[in-house]
Symmetry: C2
Subunit: 419 residues, 2 copies
């Protein structure tokens, strides 16, 4: 299998089709190729946001964060947004002062086109690290993009931000705030260097609800922890992780919201969680080389945080991930991964279930255990692993995370990425 074939083939775990996404009042998008990628491939997304749009964002914790992350983190202090420019085909990371200048040129051009200030324009970039960004291609293309803005261009926009992704990722839900319906649309990209530390590679969420910036930020931080921060593909944390949520307030008027704890927001929070979890799982389903979607649930731990660290120790273990790729229910490697996590456990009461079938109980193999149903489960595309780490009544901590297997496809894609 050569690398190009593997890159172009759609992931076997992909959903059937891109969801039908209704417009979000106050959001207009344009996308297409500006020449950063070869062969005129789509590589630029420009989004116009209605006056009064509030913004929330979480970004990578990496100490070598991209230039656009540095910009957007600063711009977020204002809490308001009028536009967003995202390019693939170049990450603008480790590019020094020219990299920061490239972001400034981008947001200044966009601000002029939208007759606003640069501090209301957000930016994100994805692609190879360390190469200078050909920013003149972006600034030259933006006027035409401005002319092409439309309310309906969601799938094309989600396509423009792809790198090694094999399918565009979108999700949509509606919710009522005090009886008034609002929409949440989201998009995301993967699909390598995924082990989010506060946020995933790139994901943008839009709603027509009217929400103060501080409320929006609280809602985003909470949902990110349950979605993007609960996935891993290869344990490598990106330099460009960015999740942003924009609220245009351009939909039907609803109950005014002052606090993230407001009960009027319950349904909205639920819908937001559904959108972000859907997108996070789509990122895993497009994990580089993935052939299996894996759910790891840990219970009986000292705390939720401890359970999550144990779950990630399992989900990042190359030995566990290759065993699953080989459809081998090698639960001994799960024991190893629990052991190396360094969290409080009771090894004598450890229990492991695969596909709903107990494979180990009370800290040992089950005598006379019939592996047939587990072997059947391993042949499927959705693998479920549940581990109780045995702390009993003291162990109320639990966590669920998602990952994919480690296959030859991952090596193919990543041994050749720059060529």
């Amino acid at each position: 299998m050569d690398a190009k074939t593997s890159k172009q083939k759609i992931s076997p775990l992909a959903p059937g089709s891109f969801p039908s996404m209704e417009p979000v009042p106050g959001v207009r998008l344009a996308s297409g190729g500006c020449g950063l990628k070869k062969n005129g491939k789509s590589d630029l997304m420009f989004v116009e946001l209605a006056d009064g749009t509030t913004a929330a964002g979480v970004f990578t914790q990496s100490l070598t964060a991209s230039a656009p992350v540095q910009w957007s983190r600063k711009a977020l202090r204002g809490g308001v947004a009028r536009g967003l420019v995202v390019n693939s085909g170049g990450a603008n990371v480790f590019t020094g002062p020219p990299g920061l200048a490239a972001v400034e040129q981008t947001v200044e051009t966009a601000a002029d086109l939208l007759a606003t200030r640069p501090s209301k324009i957000f930016a994100a970039s994805t692609g190879v690290i360390g190469e200078p960004l050909a920013v003149e291609k972006i600034t030259a293309a933006l006027p035409d993009f401005k002319a092409a803005l439309s309310e309906t261009d969601w799938e094309a926009a989600a396509t423009a931000i792809m790198t090694t992704d094999t399918f565009p990722k979108g999700a949509t839900r509606t919710a009522k705030i005090g009886g008034v319906q609002v929409t949440i649309n989201g998009m995301a990209k993967g699909s390598g260097m995924i082990h989010p530390d506060m946020a995933t590679m790139l994901s943008f969420l839009f709603t027509d609800a009217a929400l103060p910036a501080d409320v929006l930020q609280s809602l985003l931080v909470a949902t990110v922890d349950r979605s993007y921060n609960a996935i891993t593909i290869d344990s490598d944390t990106s330099t460009s992780d960015t999740v942003m949520l924009f609220a245009t307030g351009a939909g039907a008027e609803h109950q005014a919201i002052q606090s993230a704890d407001d009960a009027y927001l319950d349904e909205f929070k639920e819908a937001l969680d559904q959108v972000t979890t859907d997108l996070a799982q789509q990122i895993v389903r497009d994990g580089e080389g993935a052939s299996k979607f894996i759910t790891v649930a840990v219970t009986g731990a000292q705390s939720n945080a401890s359970a999550k660290r144990i779950a990630f120790s399992i989900a990042t273990s190359p030995l566990v991930k290759t065993a699953i790729a080989g459809e081998d229910a090698n639960w001994g490697r799960i024991v190893m991964a629990v052991g190396k996590a360094g969290e409080d456990i009771d090894a004598d009461h450890l229990a492991i279930t695969i596909g709903g079938v107990p494979v180990a109980l009370m800290g040992g193999a089950i005598p006379g255990f019939d592996e047939t149903p587990v072997a059947e489960h391993m042949k499927g595309q959705d693998i479920s692993i549940a581990v109780d780490v045995g702390l009993g009544p003291e162990g109320e901590g639990s966590a669920t995370i998602w990952t994919c297997d480690l296959t030859h496809g991952y090596i193919d894609i990543n041994a050749d990425y720059r060529s």
Copy 2:
């Protein structure tokens, strides 16, 4: 490529031959097949140690440590040893009370044969986790092994402890203590689940020097930190990591040693470091699927410990390891790995050198940089990466570690290990 071919093929990074190892007075070995592995393959090593032998050991920090690790940790309290039994073909991990009983039967049988107490017998096991150990095969074989003990059987013994290893690993050095020559012989096994946390998978070191147990333990802890604890293959920490050093005192009489700081030990320490570093590097050279031996040197960090964490962040990154497998000098991924380590760095003064050629300086790519010599270096088998994380005069921390690349061979071996 099918898995069996890949397992049987000797690593391209293997040394030319097993070293010529002289006897160590006070050490006699026997090895062979006792039926744990299929087809009569060698799977058991029995070592007799002279009366008065002192012992030192470091073991895995895993919370799901193997039954023999639990035994040996306890036995080490006595500081003396008369025997060692090591099997491959079964790790005896997560095997509950029967697993501990299996170790007890093993050491009791060995103790009877050597006319000593079980507490002077050490044990180690390696193989698949979670399967019961067929201990009756070990106890039945030990009397014949006792009859076959010899001073010269080093290569065969190193072969008996192999699992997915493709070559036996031995190293030998001599040193003088107060003008009297002593010998240090060592053996080790790899070659997956290697990211030692205090010790590597299995390694046994023998000397005829006469050293008190507490001195021996200090010497071992120090050398392990510079050797086995400076390698990683796949970031997975074994449940069975064991390094033991035995000193028989059966060689020529030398200056009495009271303290690990004794200047008479300087040459011995140097030789011990050479043996352990040699063995640790051999483990990397036999890393599952390895095609490149990689040295990662980090300088300019806040402390040596910080430099080591950054070096491991680079050496465990699947994106860095697959790029090297693809002979791609993708230094952007090194920037990513430095960033995700979470250690104190100065991104604006980060400098990266590959094969002695600077590829990035002052926090950015080098304008007009000619990649040709670096591309040449990437085609070789020995890859060297040096990163200065830019803390300048404040940054006196440095560390060097060793790893291998991540290839299709790793997936082949590990997707099929139990079948």
